[in-house]
């Protein structure tokens, strides 16, 4: 898989739709630079794609007929990190093992989900479930409109990939989209813990964040201090201030240095 990805690299789309919790944003890219951003409030695209509800037409009206990607926030996805004694060499066997583990903890019907997994090291696997209907519906809608959909991704995984490569690397990031928050912790550039939650206010979000940090500290024996704060609602300042007031000087916010939309793949 690594060799294929290396020798057959995917071309990143020229425009990307970010499907947030309660808004959507159409981002135009030219050689990695953001050349245009159009924000559409009140559009829950994940839901709109499923039921053909409001917002879909508005988003499509903004799109040019060029290669397009859609990046969903964390909400439609289910992330799991699994530890094994030893992972089999074969990807097929590894997939079966992960699916078996997933079946033990996942109450829903796995057939309704698109399951992908990534080996993080010799023992750890990141598993991602996405509703199959989400992909199928998105592809069908874009096809109807004659817009090539070449990328369907997750903003969290885009951020994770960038966090792994960042220097200096943060210990965790907070991805905030209104009430929805995702926390992802890494140790030695390998993700160790992911949590998504909903907080009614920045103070709530900060409190949950601090609880989660304390849990990770106790569970994994690491001291997470440096973090990225990626906010899709332009309330990062409030969140950062709340975090600073609650936690004092214990935490350091690092700037990602990835421009204004680090969750958009390929953007600078």
């Amino acid at each position: 898989m690594g060799l294929t990805a290396f020798f057959l690299p995917e071309r990143l789309p020229r425009q990307v739709v970010y499907a947030g919790d309660r808004h959507a944003e159409v981002v135009s890219l030219s050689r990695g630079r953001i050349t245009g951003r159009r924000r559409l409030e009140g559009v829950a695209l994940a839901e709109a794609l499923a039921d053909g509800g409001l917002g879909w037409a508005e988003v499509m009206a903004e799109l040019r007929p060029v290669e397009t990607g859609i990046v969903f926030s964390a909400s439609p996805f289910i992330y799991n990190l699994f530890d094994f004694d030893r992972l089999p060499w074969s990807n097929k066997a590894c997939g079966e093992l992960v699916a078996w583990r997933l079946q033990k903890i996942f109450p829903g019907d796995l057939a309704a989900y698109d399951h992908r997994f990534f080996r993080l090291d010799r023992k750890r696997v990141l598993s991602i479930l996405a509703p199959r209907s989400l992909r199928e519906t998105a592809e069908a809608r874009f096809r109807e409109k004659g817009v090539p959909l070449t990328f369907i991704g997750s903003s969290t995984l885009t951020l994770l990939r960038r966090m792994q490569a960042a220097r200096p690397a943060p210990d965790f990031f907070i991805e905030s989209d209104g009430p929805a928050c995702t926390l992802l912790f890494q140790n030695r550039r390998t993700p160790i813990y992911i949590r998504t939650f909903r907080g009614s206010s920045p103070a709530d979000a900060v409190e949950e964040t601090l609880k989660t940090v304390a849990f990770v500290r106790g569970q994994y024996g690491i001291e997470p201090r440096r973090y990225w704060l990626i906010d899709h609602r332009d309330s990062a300042a409030a969140l950062a201030a709340a975090l600073a007031s609650l936690a004092g000087q214990e935490y350091t916010r690092l700037q990602s240095g990835l421009g204004e939309a680090p969750h958009i793949p390929g953007s600078r």
Binding site: G2, A5, F6, F7, L8, P9, E10, R11, L12, E67, G69, D114, R116, F118, R119, L120, D121, L126, I128, A130, R135, E139, P148, L149, T150, F151, I152, G153, S154, L157, T158, L160, R161, Q164, R189, T190
Partner: protein, 180 residues
């Protein structure tokens, strides 16, 4: 650390430029490796050829030396053959020239004590120096004293008889030139 590349879209597009760069880099690296391999092979072959030339020179030299050795050995053999007859003749002459009756008789004179009588003596002018004699003695002790004197000279005693109060015996022994 594995790179996480997550894309659910079925209609993915390949970045042709990046692919071309990577394929080009791969082809270039392959060419470079092939070139390096070829250069190393050529260098190795040249070294082998040089070593082969040296080896053949050494072999030629060794053949020449072996042939010279054989020739010399043949010469030595022919010289040996020619000289061995002359050497044998010379040795015979030397032996003959060195043979001394007087010295042998002198030795017998020293060995013979009173009471012994030499009845017969035979001595030939030969390198072996074989001496045979017949001796008679008044007493056995006299005879034994003679035996003791001649024992170092491969003494052979035969036909020892006693008649008329005297002992008679035939003795044979070797007095080589070296023992004189």
């Amino acid at each position: 650390m594995s790179k996480i590349s997550y894309n659910l879209a079925a209609d993915r597009r390949i970045d042709r430029r990046a692919f071309a760069w990577r394929a080009g880099a791969l082809a270039l690296a392959s060419l470079l490796l092939a070139g390096l391999a070829a250069a190393n092979l050529a260098r190795q072959r040249q070294i082998d050829r040089g070593q082969g030339g040296q080896a053949s020179l050494q072999a030629e030299r060794s053949d020449r030396l072996r042939a010279a050795g054989i020739r010399l050995q043949e010469e030595i053999d022919s010289w040996k053959k020619a000289w061995s007859a002359q050497l044998a003749a010379a040795n015979r002459l030397i032996e003959r020239k060195r043979f001394s009756f007087i010295s042998r008789l002198d030795l017998l004179e020293r060995a013979f004590h009173p009471g012994l009588r030499l009845q017969h003596l035979s001595m030939a002018n030969e390198a072996s120096g074989r001496v045979t004699m017949t001796v008679s003695a008044q007493t056995l002790n006299d005879l034994f004293s003679l035996y003791r004197e001649l024992v170092p000279y491969d003494l052979t005693i035969s036909n020892e008889t006693q008649a008329q109060g005297a002992y008679q015996v035939n003795l044979s022994f070797l007095i080589s030139n070296e023992k004189l």
